[in-house]
């Protein structure tokens, strides 16, 4: 960036509410010339609380009422077994780490979700930000792209960081339908040409503060964001990033025709285009792991798309050389009860659960932590959601002890009670 910056370039520094000044931005870019400074991340949240002992933490030796109906199968990592309904992931176990013996005590959907989506126990006095908002704040995208995209709507939001770190919300892709991103997709016959005509008219008429553009933050901010919004909405790059019809048939098939798989494909496309963070959280109506009744029949339909979609994501990122620069974290809000209930279901259980991490510096092909013989409690070292969050941030190159200020001037550590789980990163 040796040439002088145009006003337009200045305006487009930092996306999604970047708080960076130009000089900070340039410093960040200069920090490691030639190397990508930033890591991107995909956070996958399985709504409802997936059964840990029926997916990645099977207990074949437990009594039938605990063991359930599924059998373990071998994976391509010796000594590691997972559920028989995850055969594709079994063939790729060297690419991810399984965290067992994760444990907390908030077995209610509302607060349990808040806990796992932020890495901090929910509090009455502080609203903690979700992961993507932190990344949005620390690693703003520099171009005509959003930094942080959430598919579907986010549950927690940017908390104490402020609404400028909210995600752009994209609807989940539906096969055969055009993509839709609220506020970004051009609908009802609106074309880029027509939109551009309107924007030109706006520039022509927005005269009241002319000559006072740098008077106050509010005036300056409106100008800057107006330009950026236009760039994103009219951007070919953004439109293409969201447009799954650009994908080859074979890629579509690789992720599976299910919404979950297609959403992961969209997430991969966005990361490849330069978006820094994608949260995937399908609504429970579509992908619901809250199996209070008929746990096993439900999982027989839920696990195949999970298997294929997640395997597709790993393969795709690997093929495109992105796996090393993309931190992946998949979890739900809690696990499920050790004993199968009268309705063939399992209820909420937070004392033991599991999670998956991959990409970046994560050492794949290992199981970290374990649960007891009933999958009821951690056996040995227990890991908390705070530890998961700290590990995720660590993988992203963000110090989990980074301190932020809330609006009341209270210093707050990104993850107060967690530390990165060392074995995840050991070689």
């Amino acid at each position: 960036m040796g040439s002088p910056l145009t006003r337009r370039q200045w305006l487009s520094v930092g996306a999604l509410g970047a708080g960076l000044t130009l000089s900070q931005y340039l410093r960040l870019q200069a920090a490691a010339p030639g190397k990508p400074v930033l890591r991107s991340a995909i956070f996958i949240f399985l709504e409802g609380g997936p059964s840990h002992q029926d997916t990645f933490d099977l207990k074949p030796d437990a009594p039938a009422a605990v063991r359930g109906e599924f059998n373990p199968i071998r994976t391509n990592v010796s000594g590691v077994q997972i559920c028989e309904h995850l055969p594709m992931l079994a063939q790729r176990a060297d690419k991810y780490a399984i965290l067992r013996g994760v444990s907390h005590n908030l077995a209610d959907h509302g607060i349990g979700k808040k806990y796992l989506l932020t890495g901090n126990k929910p509090s009455q006095t502080v609203s903690y930000p979700e992961y993507g908002s932190i990344v949005s704040r620390q690693f703003p995208s520099a171009a005509d792209l959003p930094t942080y995209v959430s598919i579907d709507e986010s549950f927690v939001g940017p908390g104490y960081l402020g609404s400028q770190y909210s995600p752009l919300t994209a609807e989940k892709p539906r096969h055969g339908f055009p993509y839709k991103v609220r506020g970004v997709s051009l609908e009802e016959g609106l074309t880029v040409a027509k939109f551009t005509r309107q924007k030109k008219l706006l520039d022509d008429l927005d005269v009241a503060f002319r000559g006072f553009d740098d008077l106050d933050d509010q005036v300056r901010g409106l100008d800057r964001f107006s330009e950026q919004a236009y760039d994103i909405i009219s951007s070919r790059r953004t439109r293409l990033a969201f447009d799954l019809s650009q994908e080859k048939r074979s890629e579509i098939d690789r992720f599976g025709k299910h919404e979950f798989g297609q959403t992961l494909l969209l997430a991969a496309r966005l990361i490849e285009a330069g978006v820094h963070f994608v949260t995937v959280r399908l609504r429970p109506a579509e992908f619901d792991f809250d199996t209070h009744a008929e746990n096993f029949p439900k999982l027989r339909t839920l696990l195949p798309p999970l298997d294929r979609g997640f395997a597709g994501l790993l393969d795709r990122l690997q093929d495109r050389g992105r796996l090393d620069s993309t931190a992946i974290f998949m979890t739900g809000e809690f696990g499920r009860t050790p004993t199968v209930n009268g309705g063939g279901g399992r209820d909420h259980w937070a004392r033991a659960m599991c999670a998956l991490m991959a990409g970046g510096a994560i050492q794949g092909g290992q199981v970290v932590g374990e649960s007891d013989s009933q999958a009821a409690e951690p056996a040995g070292q227990a890991y908390s959601p705070d530890d998961l969050a700290a590990s995720f941030f660590h993988n992203l190159g963000i110090d989990p002890r980074t301190e932020f200020q809330t609006n009341v001037g209270r210093p707050i550590m990104l993850v107060r009670d967690g530390t990165p789980i060392a074995p995840l990163f050991s070689v």
Partner: protein, 903 residues
């Protein structure tokens, strides 16, 4: 009134001048010499020194986990715990933290001087006064704060349990609860309304009654439940506890259910009392960058001792762009403006005003006799700063601004033209009065009061269906609305919330059920807002614990933030944990009984009579409590502690109640409050113009809490009516109201304004007046949490902070206004544009200039100038149809800064 906030520096200064007491020289002089025989004091010297050195900060040993296994209380003030930690043997290192035999070899000295490895680096040099001070303290016996025999209910309550009992609880019972029970009955979770987080909550019990009867395992529900003998009462429901665990619980109940003493700072009771801090100079006036000035701080203790504590004081500048301050108390001028330097020592906080004028032009403007005192007080400050105020704004700008601020509504096109045509000198005055009498005024300011009091549909429990929450919160809104509309005095309105009762003293349960059900039935419902009091403030699930009530109350009605003091000494205020725990006890006898679920609520909507939760005010016991350092009050058993609070708030010299409201109303008309943030009344955050806040508060009290008096007094001032356009002196001023600062219009106003701008002409009045369909009216609750409201920062009303409402512009807002389906829909379905379309189709003439004028009147509420008309008409000619052109114009104007800002 101001003696509370400013007294520290003003009134006391004169006392000092009258009889200068002998002042003990500062520690850096007295401990300069290694051979000194002076004995340092733990509270006066050691703890403040550790604070100034940063040892007890959150990043170091003040962290709740401690650091390297050494933990100090965050920001000090738990003298007993800090002393115990210092004299304890270090567990991670060789040797003693403090060595009586070889003081020089004490770990705390070797570490802090970095003679051995210390993650925190060198905090002071060997041989420095800091080193000598700590060394002398160790040599002289390393004494802590001496215990004094002070009777306190807290202490008495805690000594009921033997150390063995407490240990039993900590080792056996608490982990058992943690592991097996808290999932459902712990943090934020209260199945069957039962929580097991404190002994009091166990005794209070849940839906089935008290969980334990101390001393009687057989009579304790908890013991029965864990035995799994009755099919209806099995806890935990999934798995029976081990026999040993059940036996532990039985033994524990038999012992009387001992509980760990609460981490109340008992040390505060024993601590020496700091009367106040004095400083020299009391005010700093800089004239150029690079000027500097040394600050000296003297502590005055209750025992009469005065000591120079400058070297033991933490300093902070409230605005580094104006002044910076170093650790030694030397202030350096940076840029023009005004701010404060704040000094912290022990639990004293002292703010020192610092001012550097923007220009030399400090001429005093001669003011007419009848000048609005608001203007007199603001201009007084401006002249000190060498700031000239901007000119008055023009009529169109005034009308738009005052309509948004008073009624949350844009002026109607006809209203604008009529106002511009009006030649009368008093037209602004008349407009203000007219606006204050509109229902939209009541709606908008009710919406604000709902912000302050936390009226949220989701506040009634995680599991409660939103429909029930909407029912409650709409009643809450309506109740306040009726009172704002009738201009009920503010103190009476608040008393109706603070002293609220669910069931009247003579009301039977049946009558109560009938009454409450009647408010929600679909067929001719009774009017909840006619109820004398509004108890939902207390019965919402988010304030079920006494401490949550205390935090919410302090925020809603006093404008202060106490949450820091829940766990540690407040870093910017005098509040300690014992202040907080005393305040919490005012609310410990208030409980919401029962819960409203959706089935019952729906039945009531269909006309059935169902049972409703109610607020119960327990009898309690006699207690004497400290009331936020405003003195001790005694509450007799059976007396409602809320009445004591309300009486205190109504005292004329209450430091917060009226003042907090006055300040919040001011903040509603400007970009900031006189105290900013408005809910942070602390000595470290003084008002930018104390005389102004004083005068308005006095006037508000003299008017008997007349809210409209306050609105009128502010809006009729020249200060409120100034242009945003800066002059040569005041471009940088954002603190002293020398000009208007453009502000993004609030979420609800934007939503309603877009609807109004695109409405069919004959629909305009209805769109403006139908409060049931307004985002600042009934939709305020329905729309909470929707995409549009979140994007524009409408508060969720979930935490106790005015900062929840966000007015910063963001990228998502720009994306929203440019292309959100909601905005596109407003344009596509615009009744006004459809009228134009129909007129064109019918071959009727549509004057292009007239259309352009209408677009401007509807959006930026002024007439376009000739140049604007020319550009707009040119655009209309350039597109295929007039409808397309007008749509473009409307879209463009909705996206202008002039529309999005209140200026």
């Amino acid at each position: 009134m101001m003696k509370y906030l400013l007294g520290l520096m003003m009134s006391v200064a004169s006392v000092v001048a009258a009889a200068p007491p002998p002042v003990v020289p500062s520690a850096n002089r007295r401990f300069q010499d290694r051979e000194t025989r002076v004995v340092p004091d733990f509270q006066r010297h050691v703890v403040p020194l550790l604070g100034r050195l940063g040892c007890n900060s959150a990043k170091c040993h003040g962290s709740f986990q401690g650091q390297a296994d050494f933990r100090l209380s965050l920001f000090g003030f738990d003298f007993a715990a800090d002393h115990a930690a210092l004299v304890a043997e270090a567990t991670t290192e060789e040797g003693m933290r403090i060595s009586a035999d070889a003081p020089e070899q004490s770990l705390i000295l070797l570490k802090a001087t970095a003679q051995i490895d210390h993650e925190g680096g060198q905090r002071f040099k060997p041989g420095s006064w800091e080193h000598h001070l700590l060394l002398r303290w160790i040599e002289s016996g390393a004494k802590g704060v001496e215990a004094q025999a002070v009777a306190s209910t807290e202490v008495v309550q805690q000594t009921q349990f033997s150390p063995q009992g407490i240990r039993f609880f900590e080792q056996k019972i608490e982990p058992l609860f943690e592991k097996n029970c808290y999932e459902c009955h712990g943090f934020n979770n209260r199945k069957g309304n039962l929580q097991l987080k404190t002994r009091e909550l166990l005794l209070a019990g849940g839906d089935s009654g008290p969980a334990i009867t101390p001393g009687d395992p057989e009579g304790s529900l908890l013991v029965q439940a864990v035995r799994h003998r009755s099919p209806d009462l099995r806890m935990p429901p999934q798995r029976k506890l081990a026999d040993g665990q059940i036996a532990d619980l039985e033994a524990w109940v038999r012992m009387g259910a001992p509980w760990r003493s609460r981490p109340v700072a008992s040390a505060a009771i024993e601590a020496k009392v700091l009367v106040q801090l004095h400083c020299e100079p009391q005010e700093i006036l800089f004239s150029a960058a690079g000027d500097s000035r040394a600050i000296r701080v003297v502590a005055q203790w209750e025992d009469g001792r005065h000591e120079d504590v400058t070297c033991l004081t933490r300093f902070r500048s409230n605005d580094d762009a104006v002044v910076t301050i170093d650790a030694k108390g030397l202030a350096h001028a940076v840029g023009p403006g005004d701010t404060h330097i704040v000094a912290f020592y022990d639990n004293g906080v002292l703010a020192i005003p610092v001012l550097r004028p923007y220009s030399k032009n400090q001429s005093v403007v001669s003011l007419p006799e009848n000048v609005n005192p608001v203007d007199r007080l603001v201009l007084g400050k401006l002249s000190k700063l060498g700031l000239r105020p901007s000119a008055l704004c023009d009529d169109a700008e005034f009308l738009r601004r005052v309509s948004i601020d008073v009624t949350g509504t844009l002026p109607a096109p006809d209203e604008v033209t009529a106002f511009l045509m009006d030649d009368a000198a008093d037209k602004r005055e008349r407009k203000i009065n007219e606006l204050l009498n509109r229902p939209a005024y009541a709606a908008w300011w009710t919406n604000k009061l709902c912000d302050f009091t936390g009226c949220s549909p989701s506040a009634f429990g995680e599991q409660t269906v939103l429909e029930v929450g909407h029912g409650y919160s709409t009643q809450w809104y309506d109740w306040i609305h009726r009172r704002v509309a009738s201009n009920m005095p503010y103190d009476q309105l608040v008393a109706g919330i603070v002293l609220a009762q669910s069931r009247g003293p003579d009301q039977s349960r049946e009558d109560y059920a009938t009454e409450m059900s009647s408010y929600v039935r679909q067929e001719s419902p009774a009017d909840f807002s006619l109820r004398k009091t509004m108890p939902h403030y207390w019965t919402r699930a988010t304030v079920s614990e006494a401490k949550d009530k205390a935090l919410a109350f302090a925020h809603s009605f006093l404008g202060i933030q106490l949450q820091c003091a829940e766990c540690h000494k407040h870093p910017f205020d005098k509040w300690t944990q014992s202040d907080f725990s005393d305040f919490t006890r005012f609310f410990e006898d208030l409980t919401a009984r029962g819960r409203m679920g959706f089935p019952a609520f729906a039945a009531a909507q269909r006309g059935k009579i169902v049972n409703w939760p109610e607020l119960s005010v327990g009898k309690g016991a006699d207690k004497t409590l400290g009331l936020l350092r405003s003195g001790q009050v005694t509450i007799a058993a059976g007396e409602d502690p809320r009445a004591v609070l309300m009486k205190w708030m109504r005292e004329q010299d209450n430091p917060w109640f009226a003042r907090a409201f006055v300040n919040r109303v001011w903040a509603g008309y400007f970009h900031v409050g006189i105290v900013e943030p408005p809910d942070q009344f602390t000595p470290a955050n003084p008002p930018s113009n104390p005389q102004l806040l004083d005068w308005l508060t006095r006037g508000f009290l003299d008017s008997a809490y007349d809210m409209k008096w306050l609105h009128r007094q502010i809006t009729r001032s020249a200060t409120y009516q100034r242009s945003w356009k800066p002059n040569a002196t005041n471009r940088q001023d954002r603190r002293n109201f020398s000009r208007a600062i453009p502000r993004r219009i609030p979420a609800e106003v934007i939503y309603d304004a877009m609807k109004q701008a695109t409405a069919a002409t004959e629909q305009l009045d209805a769109v403006r007046a139908n409060l049931k369909r307004r985002a600042s009216g009934h939709l305020s609750m329905r729309m909470a949490g929707t995409h549009a409201m979140k994007v524009f920062g409408k508060p969720a009303r979930a935490i106790n902070c005015d900062c929840e409402r966000v007015n910063e512009p963001t990228l998502l807002q720009a994306i929203f206004v440019q292309n959100d389906p909601l905005v596109r829909m407003r344009l596509a379905d615009s009744g006004w544009i459809i009228q134009i379309e129909e007129a064109v189709a019918a071959g009727r003439a549509v004057g292009e200039k007239e259309l352009v004028k209408q677009v401007w009147l509807r959006t930026v509420n002024r007439l376009p100038d000739e140049d604007e008309i020319a550009r707009a008409v040119k655009h209309l000619a350039s597109v295929d149809s007039i409808v397309e052109g007008v749509t473009d114009l409307m879209w463009a104007m909705l996206n202008t800064k002039e529309f999005l800002l209140n200026h």
